[in-house]
Amino acid sequence: MEKYSPKLVCFSCKFGWGYLSDEPALASRITNWIPVICSGKIDTSHILKAFRAGADGVLILGCSEGHCHYQDGNIQTEKKVLLLQKVLETFGIEPERLKIRFSVDAEGKSIPLLINTMEKKLVKLGPIKRL
């Protein structure tokens, strides 16, 4: 049997992650990476669509607490994530498949590492079970 490699979609806030990096160069090393100007722009529908389109997990990287350029975008998204995890669970999708993390990494070097760590967890979970 072919080795299972999970598909992870990663959103990241541009004011907190990789603003000093050469974005195209970094993007070439990260698959399914979507930098956004503020994590607050990410809607629940975007997350649900990701799972519907075949993603095994979604990782959201917001800027560190108290430092949102748009005041509270990161906190708003964290709220959505916490509620959505409950909803996903009722549909048999493990809450660990949706993760939000607040920090700052100007060079964006840790993004591939964070993705790698989460992918390992997704491997353990295996593919999403269709109910």
Binding site: K14, Y19, D72
Partner: protein, 596 residues
């Protein structure tokens, strides 16, 4: 490392009516404060790597304000209106600018000259203080050949009165020398325009088509009591504050000059505090006497800045509030003591009109009396040049600064109205615009009245408190070296991150200039879909999403002056009525999902 560009669509242009962050409204020259704060917040945390970014920020500031390296030490007007004042303390913008200044000052000395084509008329600027320098700088960039006529042997004007413990000499000289070098301004020193043969008319005959006069206020105001001059101000030991500061800055006063002496400083303004704190540093046992009272809520409150008062107090300077001077008493031609009645009211509806209670008079002994109760322009020359009206005030248009008596003359700076450094600089810019319009035969006033409205404080869950003031302890700062420590790179980044960036994106565009944002999208509301629920109003942190009654239906709208295009209302809208026009995030998401 990002490269900031400020050309075309990413440059910030002044508009006639605009919402701006309150700091930018407060700044007399409307500096793009938010933009530089955002850029500082995005610097690398290693000084070597950050250097390039710091110079880029400095170059941007320099375009608009060639004296910004000085402002970073002495101005902080923007902080007085910062929205953060009420929520933990104003953003320390002056220190942030000083942080840029500290790296930029070295770069400034080697900064390349501007490649200016000076094909336009000759213009004379009389007075080389901040107003004159700013006017000369702006006109040179517009292509005029400018000559500054400076009465003393160095440029800078009243900036030289700022003690070195607040503004280091090398910062000032580097700013001034670089300004005239970079823009190729011609300077004539020891040129007393209006005296002897060097008249304004002579300048016209020599080919100068317009003249900006910003000669400042060289005449110290003498001590008065009840509209009468106080006698015996010519005693030995009596001097004037500005003269004293001038001599200190010229190095004409030796260290410990006042050791063992009692120094009395009369006055309650910032200049009086500069004088007192300088006298203290020269070893004097110093006392300040002022008419005004200590109560900061009173109409007669002391005009000096709170930081100056606190600094003086820490340094052991005694302040006697609500005291006037009715008599100066000498002994064998030397100043000995003063009589000080209690001042019960400083001003009334007619303006400055102090009232005293003579039954409460104290005698204060002193060896030195430094009178620092203000200064005024050289009225005799202005009168002789026919620049005053029949009431003795300057005859000029306050909007254009054009003289009403001689249309080729423009007047500004402290000469027009005593103010802060940046006020004089604004006059310089105003005069430069007026001179260009005058020489080009354009309408002098059209489109010049600007209405700026300050953006309110944005809503957020957590506000952060201000960093601690970093002053050297008083016992260790009795010298003329800087007494305030500047920000380190990390402190600067942290403080810049604290900025609420309350201004609308069009007034900043920092994100566009470094390419982390591609365009500023507009929020569009689909009127048919909007049900008027108001959720967008509740999520908008900037009061940009508003609920309005339109054609008998309640729907939401977006005030584009206030909107930051963050998209939070779009995400929150339950009826999908809001959309960011011109935003490509959805397309990017679709492309990624399609590839899964």
């Amino acid at each position: 490392m990002w490269q900031s560009i400020h050309k075309g669509s990413v440059s910030v242009e002044p508009a006639i009516r605009q919402f701006l962050p309150p700091c930018q409204v407060q700044c007399p020259i409307n500096e793009d404060i938010q933009r530089t704060n955002v850029l500082i917040s995005l610097l690398p945390d290693d000084l070597e790597l950050a250097r390039d970014g710091i110079l880029q920020i400095g170059d941007y500031l320099y375009e608009k304000n060639p004296l910004f390296t000085v402002c970073g030490y002495v101005c902080g007007l923007c902080e007085l209106e910062c929205n953060y004042l009420a929520k933990g303390g104003a953003i320390r913008r002056r220190l942030l600018k000083r942080f840029i200044s500290d790296t930029y000052t070295y770069h400034l000395n080697q900064k390349e000259e501007f490649n200016l084509v000076k094909h336009k008329e000759n213009v004379a600027v009389v007075g080389g203080g901040p107003g004159g320098l700013m006017c000369a700088y702006d006109l040179s960039k517009r292509g005029y050949r400018v000559t500054i006529f400076e009465a003393s042997d160095r440029l800078g004007g009243a900036l030289w009165l700022i003690p070195q413990y607040r503004l280091p000499e090398k910062v000032l000289t580097s700013a001034i020398d670089s300004l005239v070098r970079i823009t190729g301004i011609d300077v004539k020193y020891n040129a007393h325009v209006g005296e002897g043969k060097l008249t304004l008319e002579k300048l016209v005959n020599e080919g100068y088509k317009a003249i900006f006069i910003a000669k400042g206020t060289p005449a110290p105001r003498i001590l008065t009591f009840g509209r009468e001059k106080v006698e015996d101000q010519s005693l030995s030991g009596v001097m004037y504050g500005t003269t004293f500061l001038y001599e200190v800055s010229h190095g004409e006063i030796k260290p410990n000059y006042f050791r063992g002496k009692k120094v009395l400083v009369i006055g309650g303004g910032n200049v009086a505090f500069d004088v007192a704190r300088s006298a203290r540093r020269l070893g004097g046992e110093t006392t300040i006497l002022c008419l005004e009272c200590e109560d900061r809520s009173s109409k007669d409150r002391i005009p000096a800045d709170w930081e100056e008062i606190r600094g003086a107090w820490e340094e052991g300077i005694r302040i006697l509030y609500s005291r006037g001077v009715s008599k100066v008493i000498g002994e064998s031609e030397r100043m000995k003591k003063i009589e000080c009645p209690r001042c019960i009211s400083v001003s009334d509806t007619t303006g400055f009109n102090p009232q005293f209670d003579l039954s409460d008079t104290i005698t204060v002994e002193g060896d030195i009396l430094i009178v620092t109760v203000g200064q005024g322009p050289d009225r005799a020359t202005l009168q002789a040049d026919n620049l005053l009206d029949e009431k003795g005030s300057l005859a000029l248009d306050p909007l254009t600064l054009q003289s009403l008596n001689k249309e080729w003359i423009f007047i500004g700076g402290d000469l027009r109205r005593i103010g802060f450094m940046a006020d004089a600089m604004r006059d310089g810019l105003t005069a430069a615009e007026s001179i260009e319009r005058f020489l080009g035969g354009l309408d002098m006033k059209e489109g010049r009245k600007r209405e700026y409205e300050a953006q309110d404080i944005p809503r957020r869950a957590h506000y952060l408190s201000e960093p601690e003031v970093m002053w050297i302890p008083p016992e260790k700062r009795m010298h003329f070296q800087l007494f305030e420590r500047g920000f380190t790179l990390l402190e600067a980044i942290e403080e810049a991150q604290r900025c609420l960036t309350c201004g609308p994106c069009v007034s900043c565009k920092a994100c566009l200039s470094i390419g982390i944002q591609e365009s500023l999208s507009n929020v569009e509301v689909n009127k048919d879909r909007c049900c008027g629920c108001g959720i967008c109003v509740s999520v908008c942190n900037y009061d940009a999403a508003q609920s309005k009654e339109i054609e008998t239906k309640r729907i939401s709208t977006t005030d584009m002056f206030k909107c930051k295009s963050c998209g939070m209302c779009v995400v929150a809208c339950p009826s999908n009525a809001r959309k960011l026009v011109g935003d490509n995030m959805e397309k990017k998401i679709e492309a990624v999902y399609a590839s899964l």
